[in-house]
C-alpha cells in the first residue's frame, strides 16, 4: 500500500473552558489565581489515523465534537498541544470560502490575490481566469468591488479559485451547504473530478447523501475521541445509533426537545465541572444550535 499522505499520531488540542479566554490587565493584577478559567477541555485528544493518497474520508460527529478543529489541525492553521499531524504535500482548504478576500478590491483583483496567496503563478491564473469567472457566474461583476457582491457570489468566487488549485489534499468543511441547487451541482461535479484525479479528500458534513456520494471511509468522532475508523457505513451507523437512540431528532419537536440533548449529555463538551451552566447567554444559543443540527441531521437520515 502507498505511504500515507496524512499521518496523525495521538493528536490532541486543548482550549480553555470559558469562551472569554482573553485576559485583561485587571484580571491579571487583581484576581491572581482567584477566578482562573475553570479548567480546560480537549476538543480532540488521542486521535491517530493514516490516510493514503486518493482516499475520500468523511468525518461525522455532533456539533462541537472537534471535526472542524481536526480539519484545521490538518490544514496547519492550528498547532496541536499533543501529538502530531503531518501532511505530505500542499493542502487546498475549502474551509471558509470568503477568507482572504478584500472587500475594497474588485473581483478580478481578489481572484489574483487569493490564487497567488495559495501559490498559483500569475501566468497560471491568467490562463484559468476565464474558467474561474465562468464557474463563479460573476462575469458582469468581475470589475466591481467585492463589497457590492452578495454573500453567495463571494462564496462562489472563493470556491472557483480554490477549485483551480492542484494541491493533492482537499479539506472540505460544510461548504457544500451554501449556494443554490445549481451551484451545488457544479461543486459536486468538481469534487468528483478532483477525486478522479487521485486527490485525497476529507469531508466534514452532516448531510448523509453528500458523505455517501464521495466518501468510502468514515471517521466518527464523539466527545473528542475517535470512536469509529472504518467504512463510511460503519461510521454512519454508529453515529445514527448514538443520535437516534433517544428520540432526539423528531421533526417539529424542537421546543420540547430543546433541553434534552443538553441534559442528556453533560459530558466532554459541557464538562463535568460546568456547574454554572446558565451563566452566560451564549450557552443557551449553542444548545439551541446543536438542537437544530440534530433535528436536521436526524430528518436527513430518515429521508
Amino acid at each position: 500500500m502507498a505511504e500515507p499522505i496524512i499521518k496523525a499520531r495521538n493528536l490532541g488540542i486543548k482550549f480553555a473552558r470559558t469562551r472569554r479566554r482573553k485576559l485583561s490587565v485587571r484580571e491579571l493584577v487583581i484576581s491572581r489565581g482567584k477566578r482562573r478559567p475553570q479548567g480546560e477541555f480537549w476538543p480532540l485528544r488521542g486521535i491517530s489515523f493514516d490516510i493514503r493518497p486518493g482516499e475520500a474520508v468523511g468525518v461525522v460527529g455532533r456539533n462541537g465534537t472537534g471535526k472542524s478543529t481536526l480539519l484545521k489541525l490538518i490544514a496547519g492553521v492550528l498547532i496541536p498541544d499533543e501529538g502530531s499531524v503531518t501532511v505530505d504535500g500542499k493542502v487546498a482548504p475549502l474551509l471558509e470560502l470568503r477568507a482572504g478576500f478584500n472587500e475594497e478590491l474588485t473581483g478580478r483583483e481578489n481572484v489574483y490575490l487569493l490564487a497567488s496567496l495559495h501559490g498559483m503563478k500569475n501566468s497560471e491564473i491568467d490562463k484559468r481566469f476565464d474558467e474561474i469567472v465562468e464557474f463563479a457566474e460573476v462575469k458582469d461583476f468581475i470589475d466591481t468591488p467585492l463589497r457590492h457582491y452578495s454573500s453567495g457570489m463571494k462564496v462562489r468566487l472563493g470556491f472557483a479559485v480554490i477549485a483551480q488549485l492542484s494541491h493533492p489534499v482537499l479539506l472540505v468543511d460544510e461548504v457544500l451547504a451554501v449556494g443554490d441547487k445549481q451551484f451545488k451541482k457544479k461543486c459536486y461535479a468538481t469534487i468528483e473530478k478532483m477525486l478522479a484525479d487521485g486527490r485525497t479528500l476529507l469531508l466534514v458534513s452532516h448531510n448523509e447523501r453528500d458523505l455517501e456520494r464521495f466518501c468510502t471511509r468514515g471517521l466518527y468522532i464523539r466527545e473528542g475521541k475517535m470512536v469509529v475508523d472504518g467504512t463510511l457505513a460503519e461510521a454512519m451507523d454508529a453515529y445514527n445509533k448514538d443520535t437516534d437512540g433517544p428520540p432526539a431528532g423528531k421533526p417539529g419537536a424542537r421546543k420540547p426537545g430543546a433541553k434534552k440533548p443538553a441534559a442528556k449529555k453533560p459530558a466532554a463538551a459541557k464538562g463535568p465541572a460546568a456547574k454554572p451552566a446558565a451563566e452566560k447567554p451564549s450557552g443557551d444559543g449553542q444548545a439551541a444550535a446543536e438542537q437544530d443540527e440534530i433535528s436536521s441531521a436526524g430528518s436527513a437520515g430518515k429521508k
Binding site: S24, V25, L78, P93, E96, R98, A99, G100, L117
Partner: protein
C-alpha cells in the same frame, strides 16, 4: 528564530502580495489617496511649527544647519511612520483572522507584511521633506547618509514591535488602549519637536537615563543629524539605541512564537 526568518523569506512572495494588497486598498482613489499621504504630515508639521516654533520660541532652539521647520520635519515624518505603524500593529493579526485561519504560511508574514506596507507609505511621504528642505534653507552634505541609517534601525525596531503587539493584543485585550496613551507620551519623550540637548541640560540625572532607554531617541537624532551635524548622537546613545532595536526584534519574535498556538486558537 533564524529558521523562522528563513521560512518567512521562502514565502516572500506572500509577503509581497500582502504589502501590495494593503497599499492598493489604501491608495485606491490613486491621486487623492496619495494626496492625503502628503497632506497629513504637512498639516501636522505646520501645526507643530506654529505652536512650538512660533509660540513657544522653538525657533531659537534650532541647531545650526537650517530653520526650525526643517528640524521639525526631519524628525516628524519618521515619527508619523512610527506612530501609525505602532498604532495599527495591534490589529495586524485580528484584522485578517479569517485568512490566517485558513492559510498555512509562517504566521509572521502577516505582521511583517503590515510593517512593510508602512515602510512604503513612509517613503511615499518623503516629498514633504524635500519641500521643507528648500523652505527651511537646508544644506546637502555627506551627513545625509545618516537618514537611511536611521531608517534601517527603525525598520528593525518596528518589525519587532509589530510582531510583539499583534500577538500580545490577541491574548491581552487591553494592549490596544494602552498603546494609544503610550504613543502620545512617547511623542513628547522623543526629540521630535525639540532638540535632544535641551533634555540633557534641563532634566535631572535619573530621568536622562530613562529617557535614553527609548530607542527612538537615538534614531531621531540620526535623522536630525542628516541636516544638522551637531545633532549626531553620542556613541553611548547610538549603541544603546542599536541594541534596543535588536533586543526588541528578538524579544518580539520570541514572544510571537511563544504565543502562536494560543493566538491561533483565539482567532
Amino acid at each position: 528564530m533564524a529558521s523562522r526568518a528563513v521560512a518567512v523569506w521562502q514565502r516572500r512572495e506572500v509577503l509581497g502580495l500582502l504589502i501590495r494588497r494593503d497599499l492598493k486598498v489604501k491608495y485606491q482613489q490613486s491621486i487623492l489617496g496619495y494626496f492625503w499621504t502628503l497632506l497629513e504630515p504637512f498639516a501636522f508639521a505646520m501645526i507643530y511649527w506654529f505652536v512650538f516654533g512660533v509660540l513657544f520660541g522653538g525657533k531659537r532652539t534650532a541647531p545650526p544647519g537650517g530653520d526650525y521647520i526643517l528640524f521639525l520635519v526631519s524628525g516628524f515624518l519618521a515619527w508619523q511612520w512610527f506612530n501609525s505603524n505602532v498604532a495599527e500593529s495591534t490589529g495586524a493579526l485580528k484584522k485578517q483572522a479569517k485568512l490566517i485561519t485558513t492559510m498555512k504560511v509562517p504566521r509572521e508574514v502577516f505582521p511583517i507584511g503590515q510593517a512593510g506596507a508602512k515602510i512604503i507609505e513612509f517613503l511615499l511621504s518623503l516629498p514633504v521633506l524635500v519641500i521643507f528642505f528648500f523652505v527651511g534653507h537646508g544644506h546637502i552634505s555627506k551627513d545625509i547618509i545618516w537618514y537611511p541609517v536611521g531608517m534601517a534601525m527603525q525598520i528593525v525596531l518596528l518589525t519587532g514591535v509589530t510582531l510583539l503587539m499583534s500577538s500580545l493584543n490577541i491574548v491581552l485585550r487591553d494592549v490596544e488602549r494602552i498603546v494609544r496613551i503610550f504613543l502620545r507620551a512617547m511623542f513628547y519623550l522623543s526629540p521630535v519637536i525639540y532638540p535632544y540637548h535641551l533634555v540633557m541640560t534641563h532634566a535631572p540625572e535619573p530621568m536622562k537615563i530613562i529617557y535614553e532607554l527609548n530607542p527612538m531617541v537615538g534614531i531621531l537624532q540620526l535623522y536630525h543629524s542628516a541636516f544638522f551635524p551637531t545633532e549626531f548622537p553620542p556613541t553611548r546613545l547610538l549603541i544603546m539605541s542599536i541594541s534596543g532595536c535588536l533586543l526588541i526584534l528578538v524579544f518580539g519574535w520570541w514572544l510571537f512564537k511563544k504565543l502562536e498556538p494560543a493566538v491561533l486558537k483565539e482567532l
